[in-house]
């Protein structure tokens, strides 16, 4: 016959445990990463008697942690990806906002600049128009510099964020390793006694790590978890971790790279770190930031190069050839810190319209140099010099095998872009030469204004006479400054180009025998805007890739950023929705529902009271028995 008292006591104990767990659930309802727990009961083995089996009460077998590995894995993966796209979106959104016209003002400043050129063309002698051209040039340079400064700030911020993220990753890995240790010592996850709250804590640390980098976990026999981050990099094994550290990039010191200590010293592993906020930052830097700086720099390079090229072909009011209008950005290749040779690489710009926005890498293998265009990995092999994409790359000195150089033709251009002239008298608006048809001519022949073909020709500004023979089917050309006959008996064809000493003109209609036309230095041509007209034409010239004008080039840059941002937003939104769903799944399985717990609370309270009644009944029985005996 079973002991009713014992049965009652087993009920009391079981209800107490259940009530403890329920209250634990209730108070942890808002604890992050908490998984609800459940107490499992079984009935005690029955006692056999002549009439059958009598139950002997209840016993608590285990306290379960309600959790689903599949849901958890999905949550971790989604967290990583969401964090990556959201970081990327946040960062590229900054560029997007920066480039909004009301903020950047680049397009309107550029339009103002070219308008100022035209204003000066209509009033070549106006001091106000000259000053306004200098000012609007400076404003335009200011906009380029300003945008570049913001890019630089973004670069610094990216570095800082990489720095904090790496520190977080290291400390989270440290926490996971130490929790591994505690869990193993607490008996692991095998057997009846599961350290639920420690496991919750570890899962929470893993989720936080996943926010920063992509994470794969492998559960070990002893209850510890190995954590693999990025592309197969085991960061935590048992209670050991591999610590990430940072160095400045060997060829681009302004960039922070992430390294892992190895037998041969630190090894750069940035490319292996994917996913999470860190992956987002690295993606942003590689795809958006570098690209945007190159895009902006290319526009600055082209504008400076083409405007200067035309400006130096004109003459100032003092009659001197123009200087560079804008300062021409230099292209300085950076050599790797690990280079051991003495080779020196110099890069010059030969055709800015052929420039790309790519960076280039030059590597020496002991016999040949290989130049790779990093945007599409096209390679050019040879001993140098290289002529690629409007650049000429010269190599002097001897490189050692394995030496490498990084060439970023457009990276710093927007920073170095500025005004080279500041005095209004340095504006070269006039053509260096003019054509004259003397009033002594008797025929109807007319000469066009001359076009400068080669401003470097030393004889460009010499006086040259084109004299028509009798009959006028031929003419001769004489440089009267040097008294040299340049040509004689040339057949006259109306409107044909007549080119000598760096210029060309056309003659139309019917000159008379002996009529002459003069091409000479444009002395005192202060009202001339011939060169100004050519400068103004640059606004609509197809300079970017030879297919679009400067503004359209800027437009397609903005549109690339705009589209990427839009895409990033779409990715962010959809990943956020997926993350929400994953969190919901986890909450649905492991989260605490207070109503449910209220019911449990009542249920176990009642069962506790009932068990107490059993004890009281047992006591009554006993008292009854005692009373019967005492009577």
């Amino acid at each position: 016959m079973p002991n009713i008292l014992n049965t009652g006591i087993s009920g009391l104990l079981a209800s107490q445990r259940a009530l403890a767990t329920t209250s634990h659930n209730i108070v942890n309802a808002n604890t992050d990463g908490f998984s609800r727990q459940r107490v499992n009961f079984v009935s005690r083995p029955a006692e056999i008697s002549a009439v059958g089996y009598f139950g002997r009460g209840v016993q608590t077998t285990s306290i379960d942690r309600i959790q689903d590995d599949f849901v958890q894995t999905r949550l971790i993966a989604t967290t990583s990806e969401q964090s990556r796209v959201s970081t990327y979106h946040e960062m590229i959104g900054r560029i997007d906002t920066m480039l909004a016209e009301q903020n950047s003002g680049l397009a309107s400043n550029q339009a103002n600049f070219f308008n100022a050129v035209q204003d000066l063309n209509t009033n070549p002698t106006s001091v106000g128009a000259k000053q306004s051209l200098i000012n609007s040039g400076a404003n335009l340079a200011d906009r380029y510099n300003g945008l570049q400064a913001q890019f630089d700030a973004l670069q610094t911020e990216t570095n800082n964020r990489i720095h904090t993220t790496v520190a977080d990753i290291n400390s989270l890995a440290e926490n996971i390793a130490s929790l591994n240790n505690t869990i193993v010592r607490a008996g692991g996850i095998k057997g009846e006694k599961v350290p639920s709250d420690l496991l919750d804590q570890r899962d929470k640390q893993i989720a936080e790590l996943a926010e920063r980098i992509s994470v794969t976990t492998i559960e070990q026999q002893n209850g510890s978890i190995s954590v693999v981050v990025g592309k197969g990099l085991t960061m935590v094994a048992n209670d050991k971790i591999l610590e990430l550290s940072e160095i400045a990039d060997p060829t681009q010191p302004e960039k922070t790279q992430i390294t892992l200590d190895g037998p041969q010293g630190p090894r750069i592993i940035s490319d292996q770190l994917t996913g999470g906020a860190l992956g987002g930052l690295l993606d942003f830097r590689r795809e958006a930031l570098d690209q945007s700086m190159n895009d902006l720099g290319r526009l600055a390079t082209i504008l400076a190069d083409k405007f200067n090229e035309q400006h130096v072909q004109g003459i100032t009011t003092a009659g001197d050839f123009g200087d560079n209008f804008f300062s021409q950005p230099n292209i300085i290749p950076s050599s790797s810190r690990n280079n051991t040779g003495t080779a020196n690489v110099s890069v010059s710009l030969t055709d800015s319209t052929a420039l790309t926005t790519s960076d280039y890498k030059l590597q020496y293998d002991g016999s040949n140099y290989t130049l790779s265009r990093l945007s599409d990995d096209t390679t050019f092999t040879g001993t140098g010099p290289f002529s690629v994409d409007g650049l000429t790359i010269d190599i002097t000195g001897a490189a050692s095998s394995g030496d490498s150089f990084l060439i970023r033709p457009t990276r710093k251009a927007a920073r170095e872009f500025g005004m080279n002239i500041s005095n209004i008298n340095d504006i070269a608006l006039a053509s260096p030469i003019r054509s004259i048809s003397p009033v002594s001519n008797l025929g109807t022949g007319e000469i066009s204004p001359p076009t400068v073909v080669d401003s470097t020709n030393t004889a460009l500004t010499n006086s040259v006479e084109i004299v028509f023979d009798d009959p006028t089917s031929t003419y001769s050309v004489v440089d009267t400054s040097t008294s040299t006959t340049l040509a004689s008996g040339v057949t006259y064809q109306k409107g044909d180009d007549i080119s000598f000493q760096g210029w060309k003109v056309q003659i139309f209609a019917e000159p008379d025998p002996g009529d002459k036309f003069i091409v000479e230095f444009n002395a005192n041509g202060i009202g001339d805007n011939s060169n100004g007209q050519l400068l103004s034409d640059l606004q609509n010239a197809l300079l970017v890739d030879g297919t679009s004008n400067l503004l359209d080039g800027y437009g397609s840059f903005i549109s690339r950023v705009g589209s990427s941002t839009r895409q990033a937003k779409i990715n962010d939104d959809s990943m956020t929705a997926l993350l929400q769903e994953a969190e919901e799944s986890r909450a649905s399985v492991s989260g605490v529902n207070l109503d449910e717990e209220a019911i449990s609370l009542t249920r176990y309270q009642q069962s506790y009271q009932a068990s107490a009644q059993v004890i009281s009944a047992a006591e009554n029985l006993f008292q009854t028995l005692l009373g019967a005996v005492n009577r």
Binding site: D96, T122, T125, L442, N524, G527, S559, G562, N593, T602
Partner: protein, 398 residues
């Protein structure tokens, strides 16, 4: 599905935040009046927009350029009109002078007036525009182009400043002094005729024409009288004698080398007349010729004939100048019309561009206000449902 109490509140909070952020976007659009505030709002449109805006700003610039060119050409037009008036007056004076019964006082009065007209012409030729730049100096706009008191020399050049008044459209914003005042053909019919200053007879050469262009060689010829009734014709360009010992009858046609001319009056032995191809003679020289002839009162018949001859030449040269100035003036007028037309076209293109830009980026207020209303409603619904649902809790009933 099981609902986790804490996740339920979290979810509510994030929904609430999202709706608030949508609302703030709409509010931002209402505040700026633009539906595109950054490139990612609509990448394609924001590119088209920035090109269109630059195009619009270019058209604004063309408008400025046009106004400038118009103003400058208007000054030139007025100046040329004044020059033309001076020439008309000059012609009246020349016709008056042609009168044989001119007293000495009349002559002096005319001389004074012509000198004054000359000064006036000089002023017009040195006219400046609103910037103080000389109108007729070519590109050497900083220095006075026509200098001198009587013999005027030109200090400018042949430069003409083109101004851009439309896409691919330029207009010359002026003419050089050479073109207006220097490059004027003298004589008539392509020939300039004159009598030698040393002639002693009363012979006068009349207007000449080229009747055979095939034969005419653009050489200079002289008709030399070997006696009062015979003459030779010499090609002075190459020194060859074309006709010799021709007998002279006053008023009959003389033909040589494709040229037809006639001489009247009574030339004396040794008198000579020349026929040359027209050449360029500046307006000031032409007027100076008039001043010179007025300065010398004729006394003999020979001198009177000389004066008539010179007056004839002057009238012909003046006629050429008048025609030249007026053709330049009408060219200026044509340019003004061209500017006007191009302006109209520019304005209508600019208007189209601005309309397109506005369609792209300006906010449709009706749509935005409706959107905001519906966002507000949904936010309010969320608030109400939250307070109702949160109140439902079993613990309240325990």
């Amino acid at each position: 599905m099981r609902i986790s109490s804490s996740y339920f509140s979290q979810r509510l909070a994030s929904d609430y935040l999202r709706k608030q952020s949508d609302l703030s976007v709409t509010q931002g659009q209402l505040a700026s009046g633009k539906k595109i505030n950054r490139p990612s709002d609509d990448p394609a449109v924001s590119v088209v927009n920035s090109s269109l805006k630059q195009a619009s700003s270019q058209f604004t610039q063309y408008e400025r350029n046009s106004s400038f060119a118009e103003a400058r050409l208007a000054i030139e037009e007025t100046t040329l009109a004044s020059v033309s008036n001076v020439l008309v007056r000059m012609k009246e004076l020349a016709l008056a002078v042609n009168n044989d019964t001119l007293s000495q006082n009349d002559n002096l009065a005319y001389l004074t007036e012509v000198k004054q007209q000359f000064a006036e012409l000089l002023d017009y030729s040195n006219m400046t525009d609103a910037n103080g730049d000389y109108l007729f100096a070519g590109n050497n706009v900083g220095s006075r182009p026509f200098v001198g008191k009587k013999d005027i020399s030109y200090q400018g050049d042949d430069g003409i400043k083109d101004v851009q008044i439309g896409s691919g459209r330029t207009v010359a914003s002026g003419d050089s002094g050479t073109d207006i005042f220097l490059r004027i053909r003298n004589g008539s019919n392509g020939l300039a005729i004159s009598a030698s200053d040393t002639n002693t007879g009363t012979g006068r050469i009349k207007s000449s024409t080229v009747f055979d262009k095939q034969v005419y060689q653009k050489h200079e010829y002289s008709v030399d009288f070997t006696s009062s009734s015979t003459y030779d014709v010499i090609d002075t360009t190459n020194g060859s004698v074309i006709l010799s010992g021709q007998s002279y009858t006053p008023g009959t046609q003389i033909k040589f080398a494709g040229i037809e001319t006639s001489i009247s009056g009574s030339p004396q032995t040794g008198d000579s007349f020349s026929v040359k191809p027209s050449s360029n003679q500046d307006l000031f020289s032409t007027v100076n010729n008039f001043i010179d002839l007025l300065s010398n009162e004729p006394s003999s018949d020979a001198e009177k004939a000389q004066r008539k001859q010179k007056l004839d030449s002057f009238l012909r040269d003046l006629g050429q100048a008048f025609e030249h100035i007026n053709s330049k003036r009408s060219a200026v007028g044509t340019r003004l019309v061209y500017i006007d037309n191009s302006r109209d076209e520019n304005l209508s293109i600019k208007f189209q561009i601005d309309t397109t830009v506005s369609g792209f980026e300006d906010l449709d207020y009706a749509e935005a206000v409706t959107r905001m209303q519906s966002q507000l409603t949904s936010l309010e619904a969320l608030q109400r449902s939250f307070s109702r649902i949160e109140g439902m809790n079993l613990f309240n009933l325990l």
